[in-house]
């Protein structure tokens, strides 16, 4: 107990000291003082204590003995004594404002109580009250060290109880690594010899050897029974897996079915083709290599004539081919294979590509259009003018666009249909690009004209954007759509063929259709028939309403957000297994039969100077969710 207490309090940075209570307490505080001197004085003190105890016992008052006598603070005199709680608080506030370092502040807090007790003008109730409030402030500050852990746990997506307190994070510096480095290869040894000398290398080597020995010993002894069992199990599992695989392979190899093998082969070829296609996209170099390999195999095939009709197998089949369909098929397949293998692959070289490009250029307009799309900055009016497609352009206007001096005179009517063929929407792009480019590049433009131009542009853009925004008409349109949709539809029961001519381009007979068409009943009167400004939803169903959410649930601020969460499915009918597991992972996992202990100090990390104000830091961050 004593040792526990000691440990507990010696660790504390701040001690709650209160040693003005009298001789009894100081006598009882043997646990804290420690040292040889106390050993000597201990018995004497105990006697005093005993006497006092007896006295108090007779009086029938509980003995107030403190167990937490801390080392008295000798330099207390340095601090000023205060005349009242208010004055003291004010002083403390000021101190805080003047950004005194935190440690000093804490020290002040503790001394405050003592100061109070030293002050003879304090009455007891006031004294006690101020002591209490000071202590409360202290405890408040102290208990806030749990903030980080608690808030982290509150916000955690998943908590697994019993919580693990984090293991110690080993910090390995570069220096440590350098110290641990042992030259091993001849080159390294050479380098070390040059750098540090021969002795150093010898020493390091000796260390390494001794360490190695130690390690082997350790390893041989480190394996506990459970671990050994575990290892054994793992080995057994691997062996079993291997044997399963072997058995499978053996069984497969024994299958005699030709169809099976043929299918297998086909599958294999298909897979190879697919792989090659992928490879072509991913890594053309590797694909070319593969092609070359194929070429080699083709050459080999041509040399060996393996799949021709000269082999023993082929000959035997050829003899039977006349009567046996299977062998005929087999033979023809063999020949086809041979043909495939020996056929020369058409390899597209770089030259042909170049040719293609050239031809495009000759084509003119097609290539230029493409060019315009890709890189408008290289847009060349001359080529554009040459092309037939843009012949309808007002070339003069375009020219004026291109030269910076005349840029302010750009006519916006250029966009209008009479200048540009409206079907050629592509031509609009280069125009805008040109305008843009000019406004950015040309520094010759006058400022005011530029501003004017921009304003005009802006106005145009807005006008264009809201050009066909007629709210009233829109509403009427919507309403009429709604009304149409709610009207009962006519049912067309005509069947093709009855009493008709057959064949292509047969016209449906209107008369017949009219005769057979079932007219829908007249639409019921709508509630909003006379209300021009209202659309009443007549299909709303009261039965649906009892399944619909009325109010937005708590954490959501917008209906759309809530709807989004509902719209995203979590079941495995709609999601891959892993996603479902992640989405349905429980928030709290407890282990059956495991005691969950209250939070303890292991979950806190000591505050390092220079860090943030929050006392505790969360040690452990789970990265993976357990899907249970």
């Amino acid at each position: 107990m004593e040792s526990l207490l000691k440990g507990q309090f010696s660790d504390e940075d701040e001690s709650y000291e209160d040693d003005s209570d009298g001789p009894i307490e100081s006598a009882a505080g043997n646990g804290e003082a420690g040292g040889d001197e106390d050993e000597v004085g201990h018995s004497g003190l105990l006697e005093t204590l005993g006497a006092k105890r007896r006295d108090l016992g007779l009086k029938g008052k509980a003995l107030k003995i403190t167990e937490f006598q801390s080392i008295s603070n000798d330099d207390r005199g340095e601090l000023p004594t205060f005349r009242g709680v208010k004055a003291l608080r004010d002083a403390r506030k000021k101190k805080k404002k003047s950004k005194v370092s935190k440690d000093e502040d804490e020290g002040d807090d503790e001394d405050f109580i003592d100061d109070m007790q030293d002050d003879p003008t304090m009455t007891k109730p006031i004294l006690e009250r101020s002591k209490r409030s000071a202590l409360y402030e202290n405890v408040k500050k102290d208990v806030s060290k749990w903030n980080a852990v608690v808030y982290h746990n509150r916000a955690a997506e998943q908590l697994v109880f019993p919580l693990r307190s984090g293991e110690k994070i080993s910090k390995r510096s570069i220096k440590d690594a350098a110290d641990e480095f042992v030259p091993q290869t001849p080159l390294e040894e050479e380098m070390a010899k040059i750098l540090y000398g021969d002795d150093y290398v010898q020493k390091k080597k000796a260390e390494l050897h001794s360490k190695d020995d130690g390690k082997t010993e350790d390893e041989s002894y480190n394996l506990s029974v459970e671990e050994a069992l575990e290892m054994h199990k793992e080995m057994a599992r691997l062996r079993a897996l291997q044997s399963y695989e072997m058995a499978k392979a053996k069984r497969r190899s024994k299958i005699k079915s030709k169809t099976y093998h043929r299918l297998l082969r086909k599958e294999k070829i298909k897979k190879q083709m697919k792989d090659f296609e992928e490879l072509k996209l991913k890594d053309p170099g590797a694909a070319i290599e593969k092609l070359q390999e194929l070429e080699v195999s083709r050459i080999r095939e041509r040399m060996t004539l393996k799949h021709r009709n000269t082999s023993k197998w082929a000959k035997s089949h050829a003899a039977r081919a006349k009567y046996d369909k299977d062998s005929r098929i087999a033979l023809s397949e063999q020949l086809k294979l041979s043909k495939d293998l020996t056929q020369k692959q058409a390899v597209s070289s770089d030259e042909s590509e170049d040719e293609e490009v050239e031809s495009h250029q000759k084509d003119g307009d097609a290539y230029q259009v493409k060019d315009l799309d890709i890189n408008p900055s290289e847009f060349n009016i001359e080529t554009l003018a040459n092309s037939k497609k843009f012949s309808s352009l007002n070339l003069l206007a375009l020219r004026s666009l291109a030269t910076p001096e005349t840029a302010p005179e750009v006519d916006h009517s250029l966009t209008s249909a009479n200048l540009i063929n409206p079907k050629n929407f592509l031509v609009i792009n280069p125009k805008f690009h040109a305008v843009k480019e000019l406004t950015i590049d040309s520094e010759l433009l006058q400022d005011d004209s530029e501003v004017l131009n921009e304003e005009e542009d802006q106005r145009m853009v807005i006008a264009e954007a809201f050009e066909d925004d007629d709210v009233v008409a829109d509403f009427q349109q919507r309403k009429s759509d709604e009304v149409d949709a709610s009207k009962p539809k006519d049912i067309d029961l005509t069947l093709p063929g009855w009493g008709d001519w057959g064949g292509k381009d047969v016209v449906k007979r209107k008369k017949k259709q009219k005769r057979i068409l079932r007219k829908g009943p007249p639409p019921p009167r709508r509630k909003d028939a006379r209300l021009s400004h209202v659309i009443i939803n007549e299909t709303a169903n009261a039965k649906f309403r009892e399944h619909q959410v009325r109010n937005l649930p708590f954490p959501f601020k917008r209906v759309q957000d809530f709807e989004k969460t509902i719209r995203a499915p979590i079941g495995r009918t709609w999601l891959p297994e892993k996603a479902t597991k992640n989405l349905t992972a429980p928030k709290v996992i407890t282990k059956l039969g495991a005691v969950i202990k209250p939070l303890n100090e292991d979950f806190l990390v000591k505050k390092t100077p220079g860090r943030g104000d929050v006392g505790g830091h969360v040690k452990l961050v789970r990265s993976t969710k357990i899907t249970k």
């Binding site: 403190t66 409030s133 202590l135 405890v139 208990v143 806030s144 499915p569 079941g571 349905t584 407890t590």
Partner: protein, 425 residues
């Protein structure tokens, strides 16, 4: 199974999930069988329960005629009976190592018992305490320090004891009060809190050797419990039918009120995960709350269970133990619909999918309705109705008063702060 996850092929996924959620919530109600069993054997009112800090299966219970019984919950069997006190056993606590059980009673004695069963005991020989401290104080409750041999008792004042020392090492006094419950904080180990009969809750700091703060509620608090995972949070069971959660740094503004009982709340306990709360009440029901919700998620009652005297959440977060007036201790599941025992992977996945669905569609009216539907005893039902009328009338009256007063003279007090009278330094 290979599936095509293209959303275009699944036009009804929301509807299907909604149906599944409805089914899940219905199944939850179908499988809700919370009562596991009763521990029968006490000869008088069960007055207190004590949970062993390390052994889940061990339960200690004290009754009104001074008997302490040790139970093996797994076997639902009484393994030891101790004639500990004459008169009420008021509190049971354990030293941090779990080797010693401390019991206090109305006979003003503190007894220390070995928690392990004695190896051999002759038949008919009364087992005696390992150590006893006769005192001259009224002892109403006991709680142990989380790290040392110290423990605190309360009665006329809060006393701090240490191990087997015959006299308290510390007495905390602040005005005249009689305290009925004292609890050490198990994480912030030097802080303890107590409920007093003068309607106050007090905080003490044993390092500073002084009470530090007091908050007065409108009615007396019966029990107190610290949140094991949130060291600055504690909750009290109050006579005004509610429980309150406090942050010890802001006593004026409770974190939450837990409403639903229709009579005084007698005892409460946090779940070891710190996410939930169980309360036992004089209205013969046990209620489970989530710490961040205001109303209970579950109510447990049986026809024969009388007024609750103590409740306890086991340390594996799976069960709830309740002691009541009619001499029985009952074992309940913490999740009424939970399947006990080992689950197969598929089953577990299906269950967690169901849970997730319930969570997802919790705000849908039909799901909510089924999830919240509970049968309660008639007296509780009637009392609820009556309380509702009282509440409505009060709020109406307040509204009227506000409407007919000068603006600003009748302030709007938040519901949580209505019953906080004062915070005292």
């Amino acid at each position: 199974m290979p599936r095509n996850y293209d959303p275009a092929l699944h036009p009804f996924e929301i509807q299907r999930e909604y149906t599944r959620a409805l089914n899940a919530v219905k199944l939850e109600r179908v499988f809700a069988k919370p009562f596991v069993g009763a521990l029968d054997g006490h000869g008088d009112i069960v007055s207190c329960l004590g949970k062993h800090p390390n052994q889940i299966a061990w339960l200690f219970s004290g009754d009104a005629d001074g008997t302490v019984k040790q139970w093996n919950i797994a076997m639902k069997k009484c393994v030891r009976t101790l004639k500990a006190h004459s008169g009420y056993v008021r509190g049971i606590s354990f030293t941090p190592d779990g080797e010693t059980m401390i019991s206090v009673g109305d006979d003003k004695n503190i007894h220390f018992w070995d928690t392990c069963l004695p190896t051999s005991l002759e038949v008919g020989v009364k087992e005696s305490a390992k150590f006893s401290i006769p005192t001259k104080y009224n002892l109403a409750s006991v709680s142990s320090h989380a790290k040392t041999k110290m423990f605190a008792t309360c009665g006329d004042s809060c006393l701090l004891w240490e191990g087997e020392r015959r006299l308290p090492v510390q007495e905390f006094e602040w005005g005249v009060d009689s305290l009925n419950c004292v609890r050490f904080n198990q994480s912030q180990v030097d802080v303890l809190a107590a409920c007093a009969s003068d309607r106050s809750i007090m905080l003490y700091d044993i390092r500073g050797k002084s009470p530090i703060r007091k908050v007065v509620l409108s009615l007396k608090s019966n029990a107190l419990c610290w949140n094991p995972q949130e060291p600055f949070v504690f909750a009290v069971a109050n006579e005004d039918y509610n429980s309150y959660a406090f942050d010890m740094r802001r006593l004026k503004h409770p974190l939450n009120i837990y409403k639903d009982h229709v009579d005084a709340v007698i005892d409460l306990d946090f779940s070891p995960t710190g996410k939930e709360l169980v309360t036992g009440s004089w209205d013969k029901t046990v209620r489970l709350f989530e710490v961040d919700k205001g109303h209970s998620r579950e109510v447990y009652h049986t026809k024969r269970m009388q007024r609750l005297t103590s409740v306890m959440w086991t340390l594996d977060n799976k069960y709830i133990l309740t002691g009541s007036d009619e001499m029985n201790i009952r074992i309940w599941k913490a999740k009424a619909w939970e399947k006990l025992g080992v689950l197969k992977t598929r089953e577990r996945e299906a269950l967690s999918y169901n849970e997730a669905l319930k969570d997802k569609f919790a705000s849908f009216p039909q799901v909510k309705r089924i999830m919240r539907h509970r049968h309660v005893p008639k007296h509780v039902y009637q009392a609820k109705k009556e309380l509702r009328i009282i509440k409505d009338s009060k709020s109406r009256k307040e509204g009227n008063r506000r409407a007919h007063s000068k603006p600003g003279t009748v302030p709007t007090v938040p519901e949580r702060e209505k019953n906080i009278v004062a915070e005292m330094e």
